[in-house]
Symmetry: C2
Subunit: 404 residues, 2 copies
């Protein structure tokens, strides 16, 4: 194998796949990145894989002779990123597992392992495919990922539940205390691509008349965080929208999902198990409603949180219809107390209700509109937060019971 490429390109692509390389690999070869140089296409592909999440990316290079090899991901990345801007030559001798990197200043040799020991990334050839607009994907991930559970024993709750229908795309995440649901617009599926076999881990409905593909899966949050990061980078550079106007292709079959766009591919196992029927948790009617400027609400909550965090993290909200005012207060016995008021449009009777300040703050920060609406029934029933305009998002949060 012998290839010549730009230092900054190799650095950028190594940094992408390195995120999928496990820090404590179950097998030594998984600490490596798989390099594949193709003489015919004059491209180099890199792969990182922790057996659950896999990332593959490719870039063009001057490939003098093709070949494959795995090299320690962190070491290679650390050296290459410190090399000066310019051309790098990466070469191996036949039958030798050592790669030689040559640049203007010097020469580095790094010991690798054979590519035959590296596991294949799962590929999905006969599963279903859907195309999701990049903007919708980013919007949905941003509005849901923060609500997943960080507790590994919570199984499906550690992932985001993704429901793809003919004309919509729904993201849902809940950790048992709050629930975030984002609905965005899907892209039209290719006709003829909907006749694939049923999806085992999820349900699929094929409406033969309209050739609709419908599926729902639960994807680990780690993989989706990487997806969000990679899409964001691509979106910032405008790379996808131009070259892939149809968006990101999502292939899925039993237990596996891949996202593919431009020259990149992210693959993830799916989470097994029944996702909670979250739609039934969202009340259909509310007796009270408040509209408030998001920035002011967040600012007040952040100050209140300093004191709330000292004790039980509880913030009390008092809504006064007569004053058209929201009063936030915290009482951390032995430490201190605080009280702020924010102008709000309030309808319905006055209400006192308490929340975990962290859940309120995280939800409000995930929204990106100037104003938000909050709806309530009683001080013990779930409330929902929705943005006014912008993304179609519903954030449900359970109140905390307080002694009056």
């Amino acid at each position: 194998m012998k290839l010549i490429c730009a230092q900054n390109e190799l650095t950028a692509h190594l940094s992408l796949v390195s995120r999928a390389v496990p820090s404590r690999p179950s097998h030594p070869v998984l600490a490596n990145v798989l390099l594949r140089a193709d003489e015919e296409t004059q491209r180099v592909s890199l792969t990182g894989f922790d057996l659950s999440l896999g990332v593959q990316t490719s870039f063009s290079a001057q490939v003098e002779s093709g070949g494959t090899l795995t090299l320690p991901a962190k070491l290679l990345s650390d050296i290459v990123s410190r090399l000066p801007d310019g051309e790098i030559t990466l070469a191996t001798e036949a039958g030798d597992m050592t790669a030689t990197l040559t640049c203007a200043f010097g020469r580095y040799q790094v010991r690798g392992m054979g590519a035959e020991e590296y596991p294949e990334l799962p590929t999905i050839d006969d599963g279903d495919v859907a195309y999701l607009p990049v903007e919708s994907l980013i919007e949905g991930l941003r509005g849901s990922l923060f609500s997943t559970s960080a507790d590994e024993t919570k199984q499906v709750l550690t992932g985001v539940h993704l429901t793809v229908e003919y004309d919509s795309l729904e993201f849902a995440a809940t950790d048992g205390h709050r629930l975030a649901v984002v609905q965005t617009v899907s892209a039209e599926p290719e006709s003829g691509e909907s006749s694939a076999p049923a999806v085992a881990n999820g349900k699929k409905t094929t409406d033969t008349e309209n050739a609709r593909v419908e599926f729902d899966v639960t994807v680990p949050s780690k993989a989706l965080r990487e997806l969000e990061r990679m899409l964001q980078v691509n979106q910032d550079t405008g790379a996808i929208s131009k070259r892939y106007p149809r968006g990101v292709a999502v292939h899925f079959d039993q237990g596996q999902l891949t996202f593919e766009w431009a020259n990149q591919r992210l693959t993830s196992r799916l989470l097994e198990g029944q996702y909670p029927n979250y739609r039934q948790l969202i009340p259909r009617q509310f007796s009270r409603q408040m509209t408030v400027e998001r920035r002011l609400f967040v600012g007040a909550l952040e100050r209140i949180a300093v004191l709330a965090d000292q004790k039980n993290s509880i913030v009390k909200l008092e809504m006064s219809n007569a004053q058209q005012e929201l009063v936030l207060s915290v009482d951390a016995a032995d430490v201190g107390s605080g009280r702020e008021s924010v102008a709000a449009q309030i309808s319905g009777e006055d209400l006192e209700i308490a929340f975990n300040v962290k859940y309120l703050l995280e939800g409000l920060k995930a929204l990106n509109t100037n104003e938000i609406q909050m709806q309530f029934n009683t001080s013990t029933s779930p409330s929902i937060v929705t943005p006014l305009g912008g993304t179609k998002m519903t954030y449900l949060v359970m109140p905390v019971q307080i002694r009056s």
Copy 2:
């Protein structure tokens, strides 16, 4: 006590003194910051103290009634820094330990403790005083602090040894493996201020003819890091140079030292024990010498360090007089190897010598000239690095013995 001040001013000064507040205080009141409001001077002073390092700072405010109180440093800082820009009122009721902060949006109450429980910062009334230029202090600290030992059992080696003479100021730090010595220019002492009693923890010579003050002390690195940080902030805003053209006043007596400038004061206990006679460690003559561009040398060492850190941290330098070239190499068995060459002006016979790459890098990064000079005798005797022009600094580093 009642005072009105600007939110950004209170935030900035709280952040300064908070650095001296211990995270695990030996007594609860030390987790607090001492507030003193003076109606006569219309100033507020803040103090943080961990019984070794103390920081005091003051700023002008509208003091309606004077008083003292201690308040939880972190909590107060966290709340105040999140308050909106503008005026803050801080008030206490007589006989009550609770402070009420009022701003445009709301009101916070924070429980404090009486000022009488807070220990007094050490003051030095009848010790010696010297004036040190701010630029010299920063230069000396920057060039020495990194060489102190982080190992608490190493006692005096955890500090910087400061020698103040009539016309010079010397900073020295060593952890036993390397030694940094910086000489800068001192300011003239006030006449008449040199007749104070002898310094117990250090030596002092009073030359009656020229009224010279000479002293040497060892100051904990933690205090000096804070000093460097505070001076840097002051220097950046030009605060000291304008108002205190004579520089920073250093008062010292038995076991204690204070730095005073503008409206700030930093006090530190001194480290007890004899500091090593480091001057005798620096060879007077060298048989070999190399001049090299610092940036290129650092760049090559940083790449070499990636591989060296995998093994024993050793980098080998080979100086070739014929080629006028420095070759750096690393051999990390089973992992990889590297080799770079850098153009250099070399005099004396060829030499192979090895160093801990970390010690070389840290020394080279502390210098700020384009070119540096490195001098050697043999592969087993100490080498020194000096900047070409700029600060008068000597960095001595011991080579590592390698099997050839």
